[in-house]
């Protein structure tokens, strides 16, 4: 999976929780889940769990601290599975 595919996969995961469609359409690595997409903070837990399920990884509490942005999520996944 390359970077573009990874962003697409995260977009698909975030989609059901998004409350700001315009920000979602313009999603980039720098997009913040809560501040930009207006995702409810409790749903951030769902995103963490969805990422774990999708990529078959375990996100430890320390790694989860940085799950506030698309980039943060990408870094965690990359570190766990390795992305080209």
């Amino acid at each position: 999976m390359n970077k573009t595919e990874l962003i697409e996969a995260l977009k698909e995961i975030a989609k059901p929780y998004v409350q700001d469609e315009a920000a979602f359409q313009n999603l980039t690595e720098d997009t913040k889940f809560i501040d930009d997409l207006k995702i409810n903070s409790a749903n951030l837990v769902d995103i963490v769990l969805d990422v774990e399920d999708k990529f078959d990884i375990l996100i430890e509490d320390e790694a989860m601290e940085n799950m506030l942005t698309v980039k943060g999520a990408m870094d965690i996944i990359t570190e766990k599975i390795g992305v080209k």
């Binding site: 409810n40 409790a42 749903n43 951030l44 837990v45 769990l49 940085n66 506030l68």
Partner: protein, 201 residues
């Protein structure tokens, strides 16, 4: 320092399935999960503790000027659980040594929690209210209007001279005629409910 958080219980039931595998483990300590599993109303217990953690987190983010997602770092004191004083709890952040008190208003429809740190000699005003239209822009606008109106009344300042602005860490600050105020404010909205807390010297 003050932070607040509100949960619309009906919306929370719709938005979040806390019975999903691993959901509670990501957020709550073992003791907190025990409290939830033995509560009469498990749903209310989940959102009570969640709103407590969120309101405490808002204070930490303000103090440390950074954002993070670590709900388990904020842990409630188990002594309070045995007393079953669910509306009046103490939370600690072990790594920093901070101790917070959280007070909650728990109703059938919503839970509003206000967390405080070093509240001596300061005046706290808190409020929560129903918002008829629950789309995000309306929630956002209505909650700010409620806060500004109340603050204007308290201080005899003109509402038109007051505004709320968030900094780069999304921490809200109160401005009067473009001058940043020392008053600490916290804003929260979720679904059909809004809430705020104001701490003045």
């Amino acid at each position: 320092m003050v932070g607040n958080d509100i949960v619309d219980l009906q919306l929370a039931r719709k938005e979040s399935n806390w019975q999903r595998p691993r959901f509670l483990e990501k957020i709550f300590t073992e003791e907190e999960r025990h409290f939830i599993h033995t509560a009469n109303d498990k749903d209310a217990a989940v959102w009570l503790l969640w709103s407590g953690k969120e309101s405490v987190y808002k204070i930490i983010a303000r103090l440390e000027k950074r954002r993070f997602f670590a709900p388990k770092k904020i842990a409630f004191c188990t002594d309070d659980f045995s007393r079953r004083r669910v509306d009046d709890l103490t939370a600690k952040v072990v790594s920093t040594g901070y101790t917070f008190s959280t007070k909650s208003v728990v109703t059938d429809t919503h839970i509003h929690t206000v967390a405080q740190l070093d509240n001596i000699n300061k005046k706290l005003i808190k409020n929560n209210f129903y918002i008829k239209k629950n789309n995000y822009p309306t929630q956002h606008k209505t909650t700010r209007q409620h806060l500004l109106k109340n603050y204007a009344k308290m201080t005899n300042l003109a509402v038109a001279d007051l505004r709320i602005q968030k900094d780069e860490n999304q921490i809200p600050y109160l401005y009067h005629q473009n001058e940043k105020q020392s008053t600490v404010i916290s804003i929260s909205h979720h679904g059909n409910y809004g809430g705020y807390a104001i701490l003045t010297v």
